[in-house]
Subunit: 439 residues, 4 copies
Amino acid sequence: MSKQGLKIATIGGGSSYTPELIEGFIKRYNELPIRELWLVDIKEGEHKLQVVGELAKRMVQKAGVPMEIHLTLDRRKALEGADFVTTQLRVGLLDARIKDEKIPLKYGVIGQETNGPGGLFKGLRTIPVILEIAEEIQELCPDAWLINFTNPAGMVTEAVLRYSSHQKVVGLCNVPIGMRMGIAKILGVEASRIQIDFAGLNHMVYGLRVYKDGVDITDQVLEELTNPTNSVSMKNIVNLGWEPDFIKALKVLPCPYHRYYYQTSKMLEEELKAAESVGTRAEVVKQLEEDLFELYKDPHLNIKPPQLEKRGGAYYSDAACSLIHSMYNNIGDIQPVNTKNLGAIASIPYDSAVEVNCVITKDGPKPIAIGDLPVPVRGLVQQIKSFERVAAEAAVTGDYHTALLAMTINPLVPSDTIAKQIVDEMLEAHKDYLPQFFK
Amino acid sequence: MSKQGLKIATIGGGSSYTPELIEGFIKRYNELPIRELWLVDIKEGEHKLQVVGELAKRMVQKAGVPMEIHLTLDRRKALEGADFVTTQLRVGLLDARIKDEKIPLKYGVIGQETNGPGGLFKGLRTIPVILEIAEEIQELCPDAWLINFTNPAGMVTEAVLRYSSHQKVVGLCNVPIGMRMGIAKILGVEASRIQIDFAGLNHMVYGLRVYKDGVDITDQVLEELTNPTNSVSMKNIVNLGWEPDFIKALKVLPCPYHRYYYQTSKMLEEELKAAESVGTRAEVVKQLEEDLFELYKDPHLNIKPPQLEKRGGAYYSDAACSLIHSMYNNIGDIQPVNTKNLGAIASIPYDSAVEVNCVITKDGPKPIAIGDLPVPVRGLVQQIKSFERVAAEAAVTGDYHTALLAMTINPLVPSDTIAKQIVDEMLEAHKDYLPQFFK
Amino acid sequence: MSKQGLKIATIGGGSSYTPELIEGFIKRYNELPIRELWLVDIKEGEHKLQVVGELAKRMVQKAGVPMEIHLTLDRRKALEGADFVTTQLRVGLLDARIKDEKIPLKYGVIGQETNGPGGLFKGLRTIPVILEIAEEIQELCPDAWLINFTNPAGMVTEAVLRYSSHQKVVGLCNVPIGMRMGIAKILGVEASRIQIDFAGLNHMVYGLRVYKDGVDITDQVLEELTNPTNSVSMKNIVNLGWEPDFIKALKVLPCPYHRYYYQTSKMLEEELKAAESVGTRAEVVKQLEEDLFELYKDPHLNIKPPQLEKRGGAYYSDAACSLIHSMYNNIGDIQPVNTKNLGAIASIPYDSAVEVNCVITKDGPKPIAIGDLPVPVRGLVQQIKSFERVAAEAAVTGDYHTALLAMTINPLVPSDTIAKQIVDEMLEAHKDYLPQFFK
Amino acid sequence: MSKQGLKIATIGGGSSYTPELIEGFIKRYNELPIRELWLVDIKEGEHKLQVVGELAKRMVQKAGVPMEIHLTLDRRKALEGADFVTTQLRVGLLDARIKDEKIPLKYGVIGQETNGPGGLFKGLRTIPVILEIAEEIQELCPDAWLINFTNPAGMVTEAVLRYSSHQKVVGLCNVPIGMRMGIAKILGVEASRIQIDFAGLNHMVYGLRVYKDGVDITDQVLEELTNPTNSVSMKNIVNLGWEPDFIKALKVLPCPYHRYYYQTSKMLEEELKAAESVGTRAEVVKQLEEDLFELYKDPHLNIKPPQLEKRGGAYYSDAACSLIHSMYNNIGDIQPVNTKNLGAIASIPYDSAVEVNCVITKDGPKPIAIGDLPVPVRGLVQQIKSFERVAAEAAVTGDYHTALLAMTINPLVPSDTIAKQIVDEMLEAHKDYLPQFFK
């Protein structure tokens, strides 16, 4: 790495999240001296890149840190000599996500944009792009770590590990940090005093044990969670509360996304209701984003606007900056990320991506062996892993039957026939972003 | 084993299936010289035991084989010195199965009496009884093999392997042989020329490859299965046909029970329809059984009545007699049975029960290593295995939360709340047969 | 396969073993109708090929079977359209084996031409040739099975599985059949009544359990083996007898080659003694072979001469013909061969070659899962597997350090320095046959 | 744990190492406020306990820390309410170790007091005592961690994990810290800047990768090690230097104890030479210890005497205090210790003890998944693990044949017959400390 500071390239730099990231980099400038931050986007995103890029520049100037902000549509230029590459792109933008959510709903199926039917199509659109970026990294900055925030982050990490020549990849998600913050809040203690043994897959991660200052308090936390007002939830997921006896029976902490699998019928009902009133989550977010970009345009704005927090990416900046800081400075602290399993979770394939606590070093994340997931949660995790692997294969091959198979084996999909109907309609709807299926 | 022939004890001897078994034993008397067959039942089944037992005696007499038929309520006496013990009991009789099917349906959930919500309760009732029998075998005839036909056969085998001191157990099912016969029929060849690499779990077994005279014809068979008239089905499962593209995508043969998982919504619809018209399968079977017992009472009947075939146990006798014959005579042929995995299927725990092709020897079945299940089918199989293990634990411990957890993780159950409702109602409904939960 | 009978290509057809094979093929002609047998050899072996080939023709004529014997130096012609390819070649002939045995002895180390230091160099010479043949098979007769008899058979099978595009390979050895025959003789029963659960690696295979008619008699057999006169040995391995308490402690049957590892110092002493008197085994064999070829030249000889039995390949023909017969006719019987593990032996890598009981079918051998090797024998087997893998890598890469590493980790080699001395001298001695090391 | 500070019980408190430990505790008193340190010994060690205990008291007084030193022969009293229990006992004292080393030498075999023939007998003497202590801990202070320094530490940890109801055990060794210090010294950098990925077994641990400030410098370090003057050695192991080409080939760092296995013949020669001149290591140490105790008696001595460093336990105090400090204060730093594998090293059994980098927390060490050992080193590690497991079983059962089997499979032992001779002589020699074999 350069003596004079870091070069970071952020693909999808025109995202509404970018101010969050900028704020984080500014705060940690002392430990993480970024010399150049390259915000990269595609032609279609040029306007947003300008808007958010100018805000970024104002933020940096206000903060008085010597970080250069570069805005570019030339990805290769941005990658050249980069130390870290972060990806927060959205192929097809929010309009594609709206389809991911709404088409399945037409067939009475939850869209779920990460591990569900919608996530399958998000993966089919996104994976080829990320793999292309990974190959460019391997060519232009082979020592750089690819820090992927793009959903479906588990499926994307799996795809890079399985199909790319560039193996330096970490998938990052704000769900685990959100769970930790939520529990700290419930218990009324500083978050730094809470540790959680995270293990599972992206958006399917469990907190196996919870500790306060190293002392196991899992039972107490589970007891707290039987109180429906004590929920660990997320902006983008309806909070239905857990069945108290179920939480007691489970003996580990589910993540908010587990609601889709352990409360499928209730979530479906809520989503149908929302779709008919306020709109799907994507529609809500689209409006939020438009509002945000209006704010961003204000030439007097030179800090992250507080409205961004409604967007759903809480702690995103914290998670991202902590990770890059620990890697750059070889800190060796523990963070939950998506990485190659290597036996850390016994019943997940050795070479698959898992989300698990890792020691974060300059040499990358080193997963901590948790032994095995408890028997009761193992099956669902394995089923989602099968789904992710078949989906990644479909994304790479563009094979219709493989995509159909991925859809059918998704636990949210109730039959082969419905799977086929959804796949057929979505393939058509996303045609422009799925060239591999229309060769 | 005795020089003068075998002693076999059949627990649940009063079953309507017994004539099927008797016929099989008579046919194979030369290779399988049974000296004594003990039909055992409980007080409540005494009348049926008498009826079917007398028919058995008439069948033996007609056939002219020197096989003694003993009818008894004294299980220990039957077990003493036995060479094989077969179990075909039904705790709570068909009335319990009717509840297993109907209570879930009230909540919009398929009952499914083996790997579904109904199967959970069938397991909770059955496993303690089978474990008791296994311990008696260990005491009274420790060299005897327990051949279990009782459903849920996978869960029961898992429970014996995990919780019993008697480890000589084989779980047997007629699904694989039915698949082989069905395919032979579709192809118009002798069944003996068809071989299938079976692997998976009971009622969740796949045909990984199909061979004709040792030559792989899997693709041809899958092609045939895309033709809806070419179904491999079973009496007790509605045949809805597979989505042709799904079968092509799957690349392996599903078993008829896979319909519950790959066609959940369609099966549910069919079951609801049936429940409102002809009744659930259990209700249909109950009527069939009553009719059968009427027939059995006829003192002139001295063969297996052809009506028995409607009952759904096709090839049951063949499977059972072939297995016992191959074990007794150390034949070393290949049969699919439920046995301890030992690494034969890579992603199923080493010590769990699997249904897989085995070499059948006097020393027991030796599983053939198939490597691993294809990725797309692995997840569902693992989920059912998690379910079976948690269910078996619940059966042994009588722990309410464990039972609730088993119900919630079953792939047919749509939410934690519905799971709780079903568990609560079923626990109450089956109270008399679940003493472990009401200590 | 051809309607009119099989085509078999035997590489190294000029071997002194060939009459053994011919005799086997003649005996089984009815089940195994070989139309064409192509004996292939290289220029240097042309004379021996002629001699043994003419004998083969006389044997066939005498037997009156319509099997065509073709003699050729054109390997590609022999492979074209072949159904089975057998390899029994010896790169560098017996002179190379003499070096394999004698050079290590100079440094006080046993040569051991299969899993020992000698075997390393035999592997380095042989593996590239076999891999070349495997690629030709893939090109010219991709459906043909490569039946490899060439030592070190375990290392060679590992190399083909790991480095060849042709995966239809079976490694065959006469050690297991020899053990079975030996035990049958000790017990005074027909060999067909004895079954053994073989598992391990080539020349490092254990009999985990021994059965008579399916009944476990392992303890009795072990007891017999404590009697030094009751040895299961081989022509080419000195029989020192086992320490009775060791055999009792081991609880499983070692193979004769285990003497090198469990009796290293005694074997070394014997080999040093032999080298100074009758010569090493290779020297003895060389003389035997010369004598045999003198016999073979006799134009009146038209059967396998009984003297061949001294050569050490007892049951070789039986093992080979049984295997090909069972594959061709899809028999499904049990034979111990070298094949891909696939989980059959838990603590050996999933994708490594193992020697284990398999069901032999037209579709290839299907390994029977034995679970795991007993703890006490696991370590040595794993060490030899490490050795085989590193040796195979050295053979393929021609990397000096990899070869040195293989030598150093071999359990017969007492230090890194001695390893280097042996490697350096042997590399030089075998220079002509190790082009990959002298690029 | 108590509000007012820790209670630590040190079994074998009369050891000559104790001042090392005391010094460490004093240095870290601020972070590790030990209220009571109980030094426990047995009747035979009472005198040494007094001598070293009085020195400990003087050291504490000099340092001015309020740590109470208790000397006792009553182990139960010492354990009651303890927070940590450390074991540094030596069953049979140095006289037993002298036999461990000298008896094998009589048969031309290295004694090697940890993973060798001597280690087997050390294990047989020690394991029953440690298991007794572990059960007392489970009874008297179940939350306490057993920190075992007693050799053979790997075998002892394996035995506790496999046979004890008390599972809170960590095995600690100074070899890894010694390697880190040695490399730092060679490179001329602060040890804190060097990180090593340690993985393997106790006294059979490898440094898979070496980092300076997180940057991989493994190749540079290996290059340095080809220079014989740059050795990472230990006081108690002769440094013969590695064959430079071997170190390059190995690609990972061996530990000093690997000399016994990769340089067996050279080590044997050195040991034979030493035995005839200065005496075996045990004899040397015995003299050293006598000298040390003479020093310890000096009532003016109130610090750790520098002569202790010759004893061979360099960094022992650092390793021990760091471990206890990190556990007590839930630090979450990385330390290499012996703990349950849990999949951290793929080819070692899931439930076996391994020596591997762990995150050290109040909840115990959490192993970091290294994936798998490189193929070339895997076999030897697995062989030693087999040895450790069989040895532990022999220690627990007192079964002669199991002990003989452990001896025979040890890679240092050249034949079954020699194994038996050594076992027989050693059993007799250590009779008084092996009651389980003389029931």
